[in-house]
């Protein structure tokens, strides 16, 4: 590995523990930039970043845009509702067109798993996966790791339970890879209809009852119940889901310790998470949002340095 991260960030599955730690260690000091009167450093001056969103997103896109602008990159947003065109053709076409316009980096969100890698293999620019289908959402995983690391000091030995719709969740996948690599114990909890069949292959514990998960865990990462998919009959009703798996004050009161509560947003209040918990003293949901900008700045900064030949030459020396 010549550069710390290589050309692209496609997922956390293939990153080493050292690479993940490098991103988190870089994100830490970058948090300060967002506190300044002038929230901008000149690091990516002259670089062009295209935010290519084939799927709806508000906070991820805004977070990336803030990160890019605070590093002084020029940004272009392309939002496309992919549906009528077949994805293969669209992506190849898009890739060629982007290259022709001399861009430096692409942030891509796409409904198809593997779309980011597909693009990365076809263009010279750095590619950052901002969520591809049900595969990975690496920057969300990283911001969750940073939030927990800041809260606990270290992730080693900490118990994190991912609650809810694991089946459809790229956030869950990136979390499982990242948390495991940093030494945390990971469990999932949810209705069996919303857990992947091969969940055991991830090496995680499975809880069928939220009460048991709460007894076990130091932190809960509560996933969004993807209401748009509820037509498929995965759960009987939202109300029943809340009654069986909802994270409520009453349930948390019976925990042996205060649990850190995370949620990638947007929250379905009163479904997977009750309002008094989401807004309670142990919720770090807004810290996650703050850390998201810093983590994305770190990724942009580290990937933009990708220049293998120079990297070899400069190894060891500082300035």
């Amino acid at each position: 590995m010549s550069a710390p991260l290589g050309k692209d960030l496609l997922g956390l599955e293939h990153l080493s523990t050292e690479q993940i730690s490098l991103i988190l260690d870089t994100a830490e000091p970058l948090r300060e930039i967002s506190e300044r009167a002038i929230k901008k450093v000149p690091t990516l001056r002259g670089a062009t970043v295209v935010n290519l969103f084939f799927e709806a997103s508000t906070r991820t896109r805004i977070s990336f845009e803030f990160a890019e602008k605070r590093l002084s990159a020029d940004t272009v947003n392309v939002a496309t509702a992919a549906s009528s065109v077949t994805k293969g053709e669209t992506l190849v076409d898009t890739a060629k067109n982007l290259e022709a316009m001399k861009i430096d980096m692409v942030v891509i969100r796409h409904a198809s798993s593997g779309a980011a890698q597909f693009l990365a293999e076809r263009i010279e620019s750095n590619v950052i996966n901002a969520g591809d289908g049900t595969h990975e959402h690496p920057t969300q995983g990283l911001l969750d790791l940073l939030t927990l690391r800041r809260k606990f000091g270290t992730l080693a030995g900490k118990r994190v339970c991912i609650v809810g719709d694991v089946l459809h969740s790229r956030v869950a996948r990136s979390n499982i890879w990242g948390l495991t690599k940093l030494g945390a114990e990971v469990a999932v909890c949810g209705p069996r209809s919303l857990l992947p069949n091969a969940i055991a292959d991830f090496g995680v514990q499975v809880f069928d009852h939220i009460e048991d998960a709460i007894q076990w865990a130091d932190a809960l990462n509560v996933l969004r119940l993807q209401l748009e998919r509820m037509t498929a009959g995965y759960i009987p009703s939202q109300r029943e889901y809340n009654r069986v798996f909802g994270v409520s004050r009453e349930r948390l009161d019976r925990a042996p310790r205060d649990l850190v509560i995370m949620h990638p947003g947007p929250i379905n209040r009163g479904v997977e998470l009750d309002s008094d918990v989401a807004d309670g003293p142990h919720s770090v949901i807004l810290d996650q949002v703050t850390n998201g900008v810093a983590v994305r700045m770190a990724v942009l900064y580290l990937l933009a340095g990708h220049a293998p030949a120079l990297a070899e030459a400069a190894k060891g020396g500082d300035r």
């Binding site: 260690d25 009167a37 450093v41 900064y301 340095g305 220049a307």
Partner: protein, 183 residues
């Protein structure tokens, strides 16, 4: 072939030099009232800390201290290869209208100071910015000079000056190596 390192300042000499620099900084800043010391990561931070302690001893006044990491403002980021590790930047309160003294260990090309000036400007508009360095080794590539200098040495390109501080290196010492045959 590099020659053996020559000691420029031993621990005692370094302490005396910092004491003298502290007095000079206060003198040039017309007192301690508006003074802020900002050390450049990494060893400038420890030096700023020591200057601050020395000023407290001599003047009985506590001068706010900060730290500046200039990595994100470097002009050679596209060519240095693997991205340098970013350090912490901490600016103690507003710097508008104050006298900011930048503290660094070695002044060489001046590019670090150029970056530090740019970064400080993003925090506010000080009434005045000064520069205090422990060692000025010559070799400037930009029109930058230090106001307070601990020791001037002439070390041509290829040579090196190493500042060791006990906080990070276990001992206080400044050494230099002049590369090549000519000494």
């Amino acid at each position: 072939m590099p020659t053996a390192p020559t000691v420029v300042l031993n621990a005692r000499a370094l302490e005396r030099t910092v004491a003298r620099m502290a007095d000079e900084v206060v003198e040039r800043a017309d007192g301690t009232e508006n003074l802020v010391l900002v050390g450049i990561q990494r060893r400038g931070v420890q030096l700023a800390e020591r200057l601050g302690r020395m000023i407290a001893q001599h003047e009985g006044a506590t001068v706010p201290r900060g730290a500046l990491d200039i990595t994100l403002y470097r002009d050679d980021l596209q060519t240095v290869g693997p991205r340098p590790i970013v350090g912490k930047t901490v600016i103690p309160g507003a710097i508008d209208g104050r006298t900011v003294c930048i503290v660094d260990d070695v002044l060489y090309t001046g590019r670090t100071i150029r970056a530090a000036l740019d970064e400080l400007a993003d925090f506010g508009r000080p009434a005045r910015i000064m520069l205090a360095v422990l060692v000025d080794r010559g070799g400037r590539e930009l029109p930058i000079h230090a106001d307070v200098v601990g020791r001037s040495v002439d070390v041509p390109p290829g040579g090196r000056v190493d500042v060791l501080v006990s906080e990070l290196d276990g001992r206080d010492e400044v050494t230099m190596v002049i590369a090549g045959e000519e000494t």
